[in-house]
């Protein structure tokens, strides 16, 4: 009997979020004017989440018991994890004061060959990265007046 990964995911996610909701609800002051208060909806959501996840889990277990094959997701490509790590690195670089321009150029120049899974894409990636970095900097700073992060 094999329970689908999605059922485990739902249950884990529900338990994690419900714990946060219940713990956080303790620090919400009791209601003064209205009979419900601001903690009621979060607590109700926590119960609904756990109930829903349990339902998904039971549904999956019943299917497994009947011998119905679990739906299998496409395999996770290493490139996706690489891109995700790169996205985090991109945001961290901006967080640590490298501004918008340099991290954007670096991110784009590295991301294109990773997604393309080809070193041949590197020259095009560098050109795209420079165009995108300087283009966005000019467009959003001078036309749309967005204060993009600056280098510290």
């Amino acid at each position: 009997m094999r329970i689908e990964l999605s059922a485990w995911f739902s249950l884990g996610l529900a338990l994690f979020i419900a714990t946060i909701l219940f713990v956080g609800a303790q620090s919400i002051s009791p209601p003064i004017f209205d009979p419900v208060g601001s903690a009621a909806l979060p607590q109700a959501c926590a119960v609904a989440l756990i109930g829903g996840a349990m339902g998904i889990f039971i549904e999956s277990a019943l299917r497994a018991k009947k011998g119905i094959e679990a739906a299998v997701s496409a395999p996770l490509r290493p490139a996706t994890l690489g891109i995700l790590a790169l996205m985090c690195g991109y945001l961290l670089a901006m967080q640590f004061g490298f501004g918008f321009l340099l991290p954007t150029i670096f991110f784009t120049a590295v991301a294109i060959p990773i997604v393309a899974k080809s070193r041949k894409a590197v020259p095009f990636a560098i050109v795209t990265a420079l165009l995108l970095g300087f283009g966005c900097q000019a467009l959003f700073s001078s036309v749309f007046f967005v204060d993009l992060p600056v280098m510290k």
Partner: protein, 499 residues
């Protein structure tokens, strides 16, 4: 009303409607991009625009993107948007038979007729529905939102339980920050930036765009091969259209009606219309082999869905489709509260929106008939260019909301959550609807309970509210009962049972 129509025909309004429609068609035609993605990316750029121009731009994008998917569905066998999936079944085979122009012409004209017929329904149904909804008090509104949430979950892709789970997650995402009813801070965990909660735009960008980018990286779509177009027009004769009038009318009604149901996107409309067209057809065996009727049904219904989905949005403040949640978000960001009072407080704006919807459909027809050959040349942008470029635009969009990197992290976090939910086959539509409707639901429910001294039994004094709740319960019970019946006759081994 007259002023609203005049506003929609102003030069700037026409310009933004045209920009929205044209960019929507282009983005809708590119597989991997979609109207929701473009709308989320464009939202921060609309902050400095007049509210009317911003909303007309978004309506144009919505109409254009649903129509644009036809081009790649026909020429690439890759639906540019999910709403064009059914078009692929007959559009591509017809193109392979050497009639791509005919397939595109059929699709474009059907899209126009479906869009216009839904527009008529929008113009006729929205005002009376809105005036009727004005009589609603907090009990009715809370019950209506609850019904919408349950309905979204019950008829979304996958199991009802997963739909409900997703809708609850959406409500949870709206909880942190200042509670609207009593001004209390919740779930900030001592982080100052959390006092504003998760802002709508970064969450929408994460769920709609970043999760899709991660999916595209997973799929690593190659560059498709576009079927070459000839010089002839392939436009069907009037007698051909006459023979499809019943199909067009039926598909328009289906598209509009499915659009009115909260949270059901254009793809479901197209599927239902295609299935019914096949049932009523004299030649059902031809479906899937490049049959006119399949293209007509799918394209009429998916465009009619856009107009249908606008009906609950402008009259009740409930998005008819997940993409409409973006339109609702844009209205809220521009200090316009959709709902029953919208016709009273912003009547001109609503009529301008309805007029712009018609204009956008006509523009869509003109742009697509005039330029589908050109669009066909640019629809094969490889995913490896799209992913980083679109992500950088998402970063700028999220950052511009409050000039803080916190919002960008929120976007990435929700992007990862959306990606994982998608892999676990938990639908994203109910999540977005839950997120948008959580605050008004809590606010109305708490007001209702204040009025009744905390007694839930007071709902029995409100028949309309009771009817909404009963409908919600029925919606929940029906799929479960059907599932039990189906499971009793299900074969022992069924692949993809979860889908």
């Amino acid at each position: 009303m007259i002023q609203g129509l005049i506003d929609a025909f102003g030069p700037m309004a026409l310009f933004w409607t045209f920009v929205g429609t044209a960019s929507g068609i282009l983005v809708g035609a590119i597989p991997g991009l979609g109207g929701g993605m473009l709308m989320a990316l464009v939202l921060p750029l609309t902050f400095s625009m007049q509210p009317l121009d911003a909303i007309l731009l978004l309506i144009g994008i919505h109409v254009g993107s649903v129509s644009g998917g036809l081009i790649s569905a026909t020429l690439l066998k890759m639906p540019g948007t999910p709403s064009s999936v059914m078009t692929t079944f007959d559009g591509h085979p017809m193109a392979m038979k050497g009639e791509p122009e005919r397939a595109l012409s059929l699709g474009i004209v059907s899209s126009l007729i479906g869009g216009l017929m839904a527009g008529v329904a929008l113009a006729l149904l929205a005002p009376p529905l809105s005036y009727w909804a004005l009589k609603f008090g907090p009990w009715e509104l809370a019950a209506l939102i609850l019904m919408a949430l349950v309905l979204v979950a019950a008829i979304s892709k996958g199991s009802t339980l997963k739909g409900l789970f997703a809708a609850t997650l959406g409500v949870v995402a709206a909880l942190p920050g200042l509670a609207e009813s009593d001004g209390q801070l919740r779930y900030t965990f001592g982080v100052d930036d959390m006092a504003t909660g998760f802002r709508l735009l970064p969450v929408l960008l994460g769920v709609f765009v970043v999760s899709q980018l991660l999916n595209e990286t997973d799929k690593a779509l190659g560059k498709g091969t576009v079927i070459k177009l000839g010089k002839r027009s392939g436009f069907p004769t009037l007698s051909v259209w006459k023979s499809y009038s019943g199909n067009i009318l039926r598909s328009s009604v289906i598209g509009t009606f499915v659009g009115i149901l909260p949270g059901v996107g254009a793809s479901i409309s197209a599927m239902v219309a295609y299935g019914i067209a096949r049932t009523f057809s004299k030649t059902p065996e031809k479906f899937g082999t490049g049959h006119d009727e399949g293209i007509v049904a799918s394209e009429t219904a998916n465009n009619a869905n856009v107009g249908g989905a606008m009906i609950p949005l402008v009259t009740l403040g409930i998005p008819g489709a997940p993409v409409d949640a973006l339109l609702l978000g844009a209205m809220v960001m521009h200090q316009i509260q959709p709902g029953p009072l919208l016709f009273v407080t912003h009547g001109n704006l609503v009529w301008a929106m309805i007029a712009a919807y018609f204009i956008s459909n006509i523009m869509m027809f003109g742009i697509m008939m005039g330029s589908y050959r050109k669009i066909a040349q640019v629809i094969t942008i490889p995913a490896h260019y799209l992913v980083p470029v679109v992500f950088v635009l998402c970063v700028i969009g999220s950052y511009s909301v409050g000039n803080r990197l916190f919002d960008v992290w929120v976007m990435l976090g929700f992007g990862v959550l959306g990606y994982l939910m998608d892999r676990a086959r938990i639908p994203l539509g109910p999540f977005v609807i839950g997120l948008v409707l959580a605050t008004p639901f809590e606010s109305e429910l708490r007001t209702a309970l204040q009025l009744s001294d905390g007694s839930l039994l007071a709902i029995f004094q409100h028949p309309m509210a009771l009817l909404f709740v009963a409908f919600a319960v029925l919606m929940l019970a029906l799929p479960m009962l059907r599932g039990r019946k189906a499971s009793a006759v299900l074969p022992v081994t069924t692949k993809g049972a979860d889908q």
